[in-house]
Amino acid sequence: MSWTRENRWRAALVLAGVIFTLAAPGMLELFTIINLSTAIALAILALSLGLIWGYGGILCFGQTAFFGIGAYAYTIAAVNFGGSSWAVLVAILAAAVFAAVLGYFMFYGRVSDVYMAVITLTVTLILYSLLRRTSGPEYKIGDALLGGFNGVTSPPLNLPWAPYMPLFPEHVFYVGMAVLIIGYIICAWLIQTHFGRVAVAIRENELRAELIGYDTRFYKLAMFTIGGAIAGAGGIIFANGVGRVTPDIFNLYNSALAIIWVIVGGRGTLAGPVMGAFALFYLTSWLGTQGVVNNNLVLGLTLIIFVLAVPRGILPTFISWWDGARSRRAMQRRELKVRRKRGRRSSELREAADEK
C-alpha cells in the first residue's frame, strides 16, 4: 500500500477513529457511549455494503440478511456455548457461508443486476417471515428458543480468557470501534491489492475483465463473501448493542436503510457509507424525541430531496467541493461519459440490428 493522497486521508481517518475511541470516555456521557454501539454496528454494515457495492459493483439489497444472520448465529451460539468466543467465530462464518452460497447461485447463475438486487431483497424478506414464524416452543436450536416475533435475548460478549465475565455495554463500544476500524483497514487494503483492483475493474466493465482472462464470477463471489463476513461481524455488535435480536432486523425498512446509508454517504468510498450510517442513525434517533411531525413524513421527504439534490452522496460531493480543480475535471469526464454512452448505445443498436 503506497502513500497516495487517498491513503493519507485514510490513515488520518483511522487515527481519528483511534483517538476518538480512546478519548470517548472523557468526552462523552456514559449513555452516549453505550448507545454508540448500535450506531457502530450499523456503520459496520454500511462499510460492508460500501465495499461490495461501491467497489465490487454488486448491488445487494439484502445486506441486512448477513448482518441479521450474524446477530442470530451469535446469539444462538452464545446461548449454547455459554461464552462468546466461539459464538463470534460461528457468527462470522455463518454469515460468510450464507453469502457464499447465495452468491454462488447468483453469480454462477448469471443473474442480471436488477434481479440480483431483488433476489437478495426477497431472500432477506423470506428470512424475516420465516423467523417471525418461530414463536412456538418447538423452534429451538440447542438451548436457544428462537422466540419468533419477540426474538431472543443476546448474551453479552466476554473476553476470550474470561468466559463468565461478560462485558458491560460501554465496553462493547470499544469492541465495536475496534471491529469498525480494523474492518475499514481491511477494506482499504483489499481494494488496493490485485484482487481489489480486479474487482473494481469488473465493476467498471465486466466483459472486458473477462476478455483479459479474469473469471469475474469468482471475484464477485469472493467479494460478496467477504462483505457477508464483515456484515456478520457487525451483526454481533448489533446484538450486543440492542441486547436482543428480533426478526425485524431482516425487514424491508432495514434492508432499504443500508442502501440509503451508502447512497447518502457516497458510493465508491469506504468512509462515506460509514458516515451515512451515523448521520441517518442520529437523524432517526432525534426524530423520535420530537413529537411535532410524523417521523415517517420527515424521513421520507429527506430521502426524496436527497435523491434529487445530492445524488452523489455527501462525501464525494464534499471532496469535489474541497478540490475544485479536480471537480471541474470530473465534471468534464461525466459529460464525456454521457456523450459516449449515447454513442455506445446507438452502436449497440446497430450491432443488434446487424445480428438480425
Binding site: 480486479v198 473494481v200 467498471e204 466483459l207 472486458r208 475483465a209 476478455l211 452502436s347 440490428a353 438480425k356
Partner: protein
C-alpha cells in the same frame, strides 16, 4: 510453407429464434496468419466472432483453438488460452487510468514486477505515454480503441481477435492502427473483423467474406474484390 491450423470451426451454427445468424461455418486459420473477416451488415461476422470469443454459446458445431475445444466456453476461459480479444464497442475500464487498464491485463499473466515493466513497455509501444494517468473515460474515441489494443497486447497473446478495430477513427488514426496491427502480427496469429474495405486493403491480408451466415469466398483481397458475387452482395445489400 504450411503451418499448423490453430483455429478451426466445424459446422458452427448460431440461431436466434428462427434467424440463422451463423449457419454451418467451417473455418480454418493457420499459425501466424492475419485474416480479415468481411461482409455486409447482418452477414454474421460479428456473431461468428462472438462464438469464437465465448461471448455467445453456439447453437451447434464446434470451435477448436489449438487442441482445446472452445465450444460454449466463457470469455475468460478463451482468454486464458493466450487469446487477446478486442470487441467492437470499446470495452475499457472507464473509471481507471490508461496504465491501470493495461496493468490489469498484464497482471493477469505475470507477477507484480513483470506486470509493471510490461505495462510501461506497452504504453511506450502504443505511444500512450502522454495520457497514461488520465482516466480512460476522458479520452477520445480513437485513444480508447488504442488503450483496448494495449490491453490485448500487454497479455502477450499468441492469437489476437479484433472486432472492427478502426471503427469511428479518423484517417490518421486508422493509419496508426494499421501500423499497430502489423506489429502485433509479427508475434501473433490474428483475425480482424472489419467492413471498411479501405482499411483491409491497407492491411493487405487474406480475406474471408461472410454472407447470410455462411462463408461466401475466401481469398486474397484482389480476388475477392473482383468476384462478381461479392460485388453483388455489397452493392445489393449496402446500397448506401
Amino acid at each position: 510453407m504450411k503451418s499448423e491450423i490453430v483455429v478451426e470451426t466445424r459446422n458452427l451454427s448460431m440461431h436466434f429464434g428462427g434467424v440463422k445468424a451463423v449457419d454451418r461455418v467451417n473455418f480454418n486459420l493457420r499459425e501466424n496468419e492475419l485474416r480479415c473477416l468481411i461482409g455486409p451488415n447482418g452477414a454474421g461476422k460479428s456473431t461468428f466472432f462472438k462464438c469464437l470469443t465465448g461471448q455467445l454459446s453456439p447453437t451447434s458445431g464446434d470451435v477448436v483453438i489449438r487442441d482445446f475445444n472452445g465450444t460454449g466456453r466463457l470469455p475468460h476461459q478463451i482468454a486464458r488460452l493466450g487469446v487477446g480479444i478486442k470487441t467492437q464497442v470499446p470495452n475499457v475500464f472507464d473509471g481507471l487510468s490508461v496504465s491501470e487498464n493495461i496493468w490489469l491485463a498484464a497482471r493477469r499473466w505475470h507477477g507484480a514486477a513483470r506486470a509493471r515493466s510490461l505495462t510501461s513497455q506497452t504504453v511506450e509501444r502504443l505511444k500512450l505515454g502522454d495520457i497514461r494517468t488520465d482516466p480512460v473515460g476522458q479520452l477520445a474515441h480513437g485513444q480508447r480503441q488504442w488503450v483496448e489494443l494495449g490491453m490485448v497486447v500487454a497479455a502477450e497473446p499468441w492469437l489476437v481477435l479484433l472486432d472492427e478495430p478502426a471503427a469511428g477513427m479518423t484517417h490518421d488514426e486508422i493509419e496508426r492502427t494499421v501500423e499497430i496491427i502489423r506489429e502485433i502480427n509479427q508475434q501473433a496469429t490474428m483475425i480482424v473483423v472489419e467492413h471498411d474495405m479501405q482499411f483491409i486493403r491497407m492491411i493487405s491480408s487474406k480475406v474471408t467474406v461472410f454472407h447470410e451466415g455462411r462463408i461466401l469466398i475466401e481469398d486474397s483481397m484482389d480476388v475477392v474484390t473482383a468476384d462478381p458475387r461479392v460485388r453483388e452482395v455489397y452493392l445489393g445489400n449496402s446500397a448506401s
